[in-house]
Symmetry: C2
Subunit: 449 residues, 2 copies
C-alpha cells in the first residue's frame, strides 16, 4: 500500500511539472530545497482556491473584515507571541558527516511515534532503539533550532535590527485588532481574515508541497465574547466543511481529530485538526483552535496598550476570546490535486485525468478546429474561442496534434469541456462538446455553449 | 505649493488610517519603519487593482501566462543577475551621532540633483556645498550598501546557505522561462506575468507607501523575436496607458519620461519611466524597459542550460529579447487614492470624498434605514442589503449616526452610492439613492438598483 501511495504521489509530481502546474523552486540553478514555483496552471488553480476562500469567508459575510499585514514585523511581535523562545524543532546531527536532521522525523522514519515526547525522551528513544542516521552513523544528542528565518532591517546588523520572516500570518492579524476596532467598531463576534506568505526554516522539508520553507496561509481570527466561544467554534467548523466540499474533497477522506488536552497548547480550550488522506498518508490539512485571550493579552502586556472590547451601550469590557481557523494554501492545493487525480481505461487504453470541480479548473473550455490546416475550420473555431474567452476568461486554444492527443492533454490538466469545430459546424452552427469525466461527446449549438 | 502638497499628503495619510485603509506596520509596538499594513478597505482596494491588472494583462489575453515563484531563491540567481555586486546605494554617516543616510537623498534634500553622479562625485558635492546631516553634523565619506535583505536557509548559517529576500519579482519569471516553454511551447511573442512581494532594505524609507522596505510588484517579461522588440514595446506602452485610464488617473497627471541612453542600464535599448504627479511631486509610477537578451543570456552562462527559442517548424534559434513592464502595487494604490482625493463644499460646509472609479471602490453601495429605531425600516433595509450583497459582494450596512454623518463617512471611503430606506419605501417599494460625486438624491424602485 505504501508503495502504491508513493507511486500516486510520484505520478502527481511528474504530471504537475510536465503540464505546467508546479516546478521546483530555482529549478534552473539546481533548485532551493523546500521552495516551489507555480506555472501557469498552478497559478490559476491556486488563485481559484484562494478567491473561493475569500468569497466564502469574507465577501459573502457581514462579520468578516480583510487585513493584509507586512511580512517583516517589529521583533517585539515574536517576543510577545513566544516564537523567539519556543518556536523550535529538535535537531540532531550525524556524528560522522555532520548532516543535520529533525529528531522527531528520524524517529518516525524508524517506526517510533514521537508524539508528546520531550527532546530528552527522543534522545533516550534513539539510544534505546539504536537508531542511526540515514547514512548508518551514530547521531548526536539533540539541540533546539529556531525555525524563524532571521534578517536585519536598516543599515546596521545588530541585535536591535533583527527581524524575522513571519512564521505565520496570525500575528499580523492580532497586531491589527485594535486598528480595525478603532476604524469600524464592529459588533462581536467578528473576524479578521488574511491571506499571505509565511516562512519556516524547516530542517528537512519534504513530501512535495506538503512541508515547505515558504508557503501561503489563509487565516481568520474570530473575536468572540468569552461566554460564546464554543458556539462560534461549532459554526466555524461547519463553515470549514462547506469550504472543503467546494474543493471537491470526498467526505470519507476528511477526518476530524479532536486534539486531547495534554497535546494542546496550554492556552487552548479546544483544538480540532482536520486531516486528509493524502497519497503520503493521513496528515493535517488545517486546524481550528480556540485560543482564548492568549494572544491579545500578550500584546496588551508587552505593548502596554489596552486590548479590551467595550460592548456598545454598556460598561461591559473584556479582552475577547479568539477562534482561529488556519488553512495552508499549498496543502489545500495538494488535497485538491490528489482528490482530482484519476486513472481509468478508455477503449482499452490507460487514461489519466484530473477531475477538478468545474469552478476550480484552471481551464474550463478547450477549443479546437478538427483540422488545423483547413482555414475555414480554424476561422470558425477562432470565432467560438473569442466568444467563450470573453465570457469565461479561462478558455484555451488547442490545435496541437490530432484530436486524440488534444483530449489526452486536456484530461491531464483537468479541462471539463473540449469543444471541436468540424465541417458540420460550418453548415449548421453546432459543435462537438466532449465531457472530461464520461468522455461522452454530443453535438450542441454554439449559442448554447 | 510644496506646503500645500504636503498638506494633501498628510490629509491622505490621516484619512486612510482613520477610515481603515492603511496603518503603520507593527503599529501596536511602535511600528517598523518602511512597512505598512492594510486594513479592510485598503485590502479591498488593493485586491481590486491587482485583479484588474491580472484580468487585463493575463486572463483576457492569448499571449500571457501567469507564474508565481518563491520569494526565497538559490543565491546563484542574484549572482547571475548582478544584484549581489551592484544592487547598492551610497550610504554616509553623521560623524557625531552615527545615524546613516542615503547620500543621494541628502543631496536632493539640500537642493542638489544627484542624477548621474558617481559616489565619489556625490562626496565631492557634499564637501563643496558644505552639506551637513539633518542634525547639523559633518558627514562621513560614502560607502556602498547592498539593499537585499540577507537570511540563511537550513540549519547551518554560512556562506553556502545565504539566501536573499528577492528585491524584484522579475528574476522569478526569467528562471521559469524554460519551464514554461517546455510545458506549453508558446509562439513568440509571449509574456510571463507575476504578482508578488519584493523587499529592499531601504536606508531611508519615506513618503508614505511610496518608498517602502516591503512592497508588491506586478511584472511582465514579454519574450520577442530580436527583430520585433520595438513593435512590442509600443504595443505594451499602449496597454499600460489603458490600465492607467482604468485606474482613474487623469491623463494630464501621467507623463512619459524617455530615459536617455547615458542614464539607462548598459544592456537596455530603450526605457520609458511613467511618472505621475503625486502629492509629493512628480515621481516614477512604473517602468517599461527593453532589456534585450541580457537576463536570459546571464542565466544561460551561469546555469549552463540552453535558453534559446526554436521557432516552430524552422531551424531558427536565438535567445529571445525581452520587454519588461514593471508596476508597483503600492505606487498604483497611492496614485489611485491621490487622484480620488477631492475636497469641495456642500451647503457651505467643507466636504472630503474619494471619487474612486466605480469598479475600484471598496464599497459600492451603503445601505441605511432612515431611522435605526424603527424595526419596520430596519427590516426592509436588511432585505435590500441582502439582495445587493448577494449580487455585488462589496456592500456595507451602515446605520451609525444620522443620515448626514453616514453620507460624510461613505464619502470619505469613496462609496459611489448610498441607499436609504424610509417610510415611503414601505408603501411604494422605492428607495433614495444618493450619488457620491454630485450629492444628488433621487428615488428609484428597489428592483432597478
Amino acid at each position: 500500500m505504501a508503495a502504491q501511495k508513493n507511486e500516486k504521489m510520484e505520478a502527481i509530481v511528474s504530471l504537475t511539472k510536465r503540464r505546467g502546474f508546479i516546478y521546483q523552486g530555482s529549478d534552473v540553478y539546481g533548485g532551493l530545497s523546500g521552495t516551489w514555483d507555480y506555472g501557469p496552471l498552478g497559478v490559476a488553480l491556486k488563485r481559484n482556491i484562494m478567491q473561493l476562500w475569500w468569497k466564502l469567508f469574507v465577501d459573502s459575510r457581514d462579520d468578516m473584515y480583510g487585513v493584509d499585514a507586512a511580512i517583516l514585523m517589529n521583533q517585539k511581535v515574536w517576543q510577545a507571541s513566544g516564537h523567539v523562545d519556543t518556536f523550535v524543532d529538535p535537531l540532531c546531527e550525524d556524528t560522522v558527516n555532520k548532516r543535520r536532521y529533525r529528531t522527531d522525523h528520524i524517529l518516525k522514519d524508524n517506526g517510533i511515534d514521537p508524539t508528546g515526547m520531550t527532546m530528552q525522551q527522543m534522545d533516550v528513544a534513539i539510544q534505546e532503539h539504536g537508531v542511526k542516521s540515514p547514512d548508518g552513523n551514530p547521531l548526536s544528542e539533540s539541540r533546539t533550532f529556531n525555525m524563524m528565518f532571521t534578517t536585519h532591517v536598516g543599515p546596521v546588523a545588530d541585535e536591535k535590527s533583527v527581524s524575522y520572516l513571519r512564521p505565520e500570518t496570525a500575528q499580523g492579524i492580532f497586531t491589527n485588532y485594535k486598528n480595525v476596532v478603532d476604524s469600524f467598531y464592529p459588533d462581536l463576534p467578528f473576524g479578521l481574515a488574511q491571506q499571505g506568505k509565511a516562512f519556516r526554516n524547516e530542517i528537512s522539508p519534504r513530501d512535495f508541497i506538503f512541508r515547505t520553507r515558504e508557503f501561503e496561509q489563509m487565516e481568520i481570527e474570530y473575536f468572540v465574547h468569552p461566554d460564546k466561544g464554543q458556539e462560534s467554534f461549532e459554526s466555524l467548523l461547519a463553515d470549514i466543511h462547506s469550504f472543503l466540499d467546494l474543493l471537491g474533497l470526498p467526505k470519507e477522506a476528511v477526518h476530524e481529530l479532536e486534539v486531547p488536552a495534554e497535546d494542546r497548547a496550554h492556552y487552548s480550550k479546544r483544538t480540532i485538526d482536520i486531516e486528509y488522506d493524502f497519497p503520503i498518508g493521513r496528515e493535517e490539512l488545517l486546524g481550528l483552535a480556540y485560543r482564548t485571550d492568549f494572544d491579545l493579552s500578550n500584546i496588551q502586556r508587552v505593548s502596554g496598550k489596552n486590548m479590551e472590547y467595550n460592548v456598545k451601550g454598556t460598561n461591559e469590557k473584556f479582552v475577547p476570546h479568539v477562534i482561529e481557523p488556519s488553512f495552508g494554501v499549498e496543502r489545500a492545493l495538494m488535497a485538491v490535486i490528489s482528490a482530482a487525480y484519476t486513472e481509468d481505461e478508455v477503449n482499452g487504453e490507460k487514461r489519466i485525468f484530473l477531475k477538478f470541480p468545474e469552478h476550480l479548473a484552471p481551464v474550463k473550455y478547450a477549443i479546437s478546429p478538427l483540422l488545423k490546416n483547413k482555414p475555414e475550420l480554424v476561422e470558425k473555431a477562432r470565432e467560438v474561442y473569442a466568444i467563450l474567452k470573453k465570457k469565461h476568461g479561462n478558455v484555451m486554444w488547442d490545435d496541437n496534434g490530432n484530436i486524440g492527443k488534444r483530449y489526452r492533454r486536456q484530461d491531464e490538466i483537468g479541462t471539463p469541456y473540449c469543444v471541436v469545430v468540424d465541417f458540420d459546424s460550418l453548415e449548421d452552427g453546432t459543435v462537438t462538446i466532449r465531457d472530461r469525466d464520461t468522455t461522452e461527446q454530443k453535438r450542441i449549438s454554439i449559442d448554447d455553449l
